[in-house]
Amino acid sequence: MWNFIQNQILGMKWLYTLVGNLINTLGLDITNKVGGTIHFFVYDLIKIVVLLCCLIFIISYIQSFFPPERTKRIIGRFHGLGANILAALLGTITPFCSCSSIPLFIGFTSAGLPLGVTFSFLISSPMVDLGSLVLLMSIFGWKVAIIYVLLGLVIAVSGGTLIEHLHLENYVEEFIYRGKKIEVEDEKLTIRDRVDYSFSKMITTLEKVIIYIVIGVGIGSIIHNWIPKDLVVKTLGNGNPFGVFIATICGIPMYADIFGCIPIAEALLAKGAKLGVVLSLMMAVTTLSLPSMIMLKKAIKPKLLGTFIAICTVGIICVGYFFNFIQSFII
């Protein structure tokens, strides 16, 4: 039963066969390189777009129950490590646009939440989210997905706790602490409101990320059909012990949506890249994107920003090597 869900619903193997047959009828041979590339491109593009639409809709619906104001109130009731853990967990559910990170940071800080708690939220929010969880399940299997989420949460909680212990409160811009404490009542939303919200979020997200998906699937298709296997193995696979390190450093300045990363990661893995290398790349791209860093820099001073980046980088590298190590046991 689970295999059916894994292969047919999430993996859409039936779509692969269908597209293959369609292309064959159009006269192209899918066993040669060009036909194979087109086959993979069309199949992967449709699969990711459909998955994206379903995921964003369902997740936005869940997220409509957790607006930032409510998250702030919930976390505010807890202290210490519990608060960090809760912040990391809520970070995965709360809607997050990179330009919401600053207002959120301000809101949490002016509500009196400790710096470490806010950072646990800021780390887990982009790195671990329900969308990537389901997508990872469809590509890499549920074991990888669960471990990825757990390790992401561990990085978030330990990163936040570490920042707390370093007492870097002075490295937040002063105006943040002067923020107005406005208690906003939660909007009473009907089911219709939530459906409308989820649908509009789905359309907006699709419009925003479609270009990344097309590019990502394009690159993935080329890797799938044209890049020789031993090149990938030599640079990103068993042939290179520094693979994780390189992947993380390369991922940091890149800005791409996770949905665009997945087809590339998929293709690289199939060509012999190690699992940890591929996942480190994804984590680095989503957590430490340049646009987010630029916006965060408006709210915190360089030393705190540097610490944040360093903690995330080290965390991602460690997780990457860990996944490399356990790869044979879980795939």
């Binding site: 607006p67 930032p68 104001e69 702030k72 809607p95 646009c97 990179s98 330009c99 919401s100 990170s101 600053i102 207002p103 959120l104 301000i106 809101g107 105006f175 943040i176 002067r178 923020g179 107005k180 404490k181 406005i182 906003v184 919200y197 509009s200 979020k201 359309i203 907006t204 699709l206 419009e207 925003k208 479609i210 270009i211 646009p291 916006m295 408006k298 709210a299």
Partner: protein
């Protein structure tokens, strides 16, 4: 990107009853917030309102509204929408609902 804008607004300019003192779009600078500003501008134009939409990206000013989700649409000094991209047609409805 306008992939799904099936109803490209080709409506006539309709005069609006009531008055619009100011309309502001607040954002931290990401592409969604900028799009919101453009939709707000288009809405004002289509309603025949001769008013400049203020686009505020200054963090200290944004903080005065105490909101945590961007983009924000503030009409006549009241927060009319927050945290989602509101299309031109819906911005027009918001303006009409919030006139003095």
């Amino acid at each position: 990107m306008g992939l799904f804008s099936f109803n490209k607004n080709k409506e006539e300019i309709t005069p609006v009853k009531g008055s619009l003192k100011n309309i502001k779009v607040l954002g931290a600078g990401c592409s969604t917030c900028h799009k919101q500003y453009e939709y707000a501008q288009a809405a004002c134009k289509e309603l025949g309102l001769n008013i400049e939409v203020e686009y505020i990206t200054d963090l200290e000013k944004i903080m005065e509204y105490g909101m945590m989700s961007m983009p924000l649409i503030v009409i006549n000094d009241k927060v009319a929408a927050k945290g989602k991209l509101v299309r031109t047609a819906d911005v027009k409805k918001l303006i009409e609902d919030n006139l003095l």
